[in-house]
Symmetry: C2
Subunit: 132 residues, 2 copies
């Protein structure tokens, strides 16, 4: 069975990821966001360099190229040391944007690893349910 | 706290998604896979039609166009009624393939809703960690 302490930890991990994500992708404040990162930050997004330095460079570029970028967390899940978010990302207001899943691994409440998959939302769909 | 019965349910949901996914994407047996679907199957993948019929048409097309398609589950997570899988999909053997996150909602142990995000694995990466 899942111990109550494990459940509390998963809720705390969700909260940490929410706060980190808001500071990073929306506020675009690397200093504030980086407080949520652990001693290492292993990056699996192929467009972002490894570690905190790679993440800093990514955020600087995002801020310069897409200052109005907004990422909205639609759903959040936790299992063990992992948190998964389902995100609607709009780089330029008024555009359809992209559907994203981000997966974070946490250790001692800090984010240490990140994976994702990003898909442009197409103009037309084979169903009327939307991507969220 | 998470009740033991809730944890058992999440493990059963993971097992159902694993079996469904193998039968659908690898064996490509719609009849066998569809036994894991609930009374409805709400589809959010914009390239697939809604419901069981849309899924049947998708599998038939996959089987015809990519008979050697293989989807490998790299990681699986569960939270409440949801199961998330992180997948490496290779449609044509020897190609880099795609990174996928699939999100499934289950009711009474059956799959009733599906979302995903699919990204081609690029030739070059800004880090050496791979997408998994």
């Amino acid at each position: 069975m899942i111990e109550p302490i494990a459940e509390q930890k998963m809720e705390a991990n969700k909260k940490a990821v929410r706060e980190f994500y808001e500071l990073a992708l929306n506020t675009k404040d690397f200093v504030a966001a980086s407080r949520y990162l652990g001693p290492r930050y292993v990056q699996h997004n192929p467009l972002v360099g490894d570690g905190k330095e790679g993440f800093l460079a990514f955020l600087a570029k995002l801020k310069a190229e897409y200052p109005d970028n907004r990422n909205e967390i639609k759903r959040i899940f936790a299992d063990g040391n992992y948190v998964i978010i389902h995100v609607h990302s709009v780089r330029i207001p008024g555009t359809r944007g992209r559907a994203i899943f981000d997966l974070f691994k946490l250790e001692d409440g800090k984010i240490v690893e990140h994976w994702d998959a990003i898909q442009e939302i197409p103009e037309k769909s084979a169903n009327s349910n939307g991507m969220f």
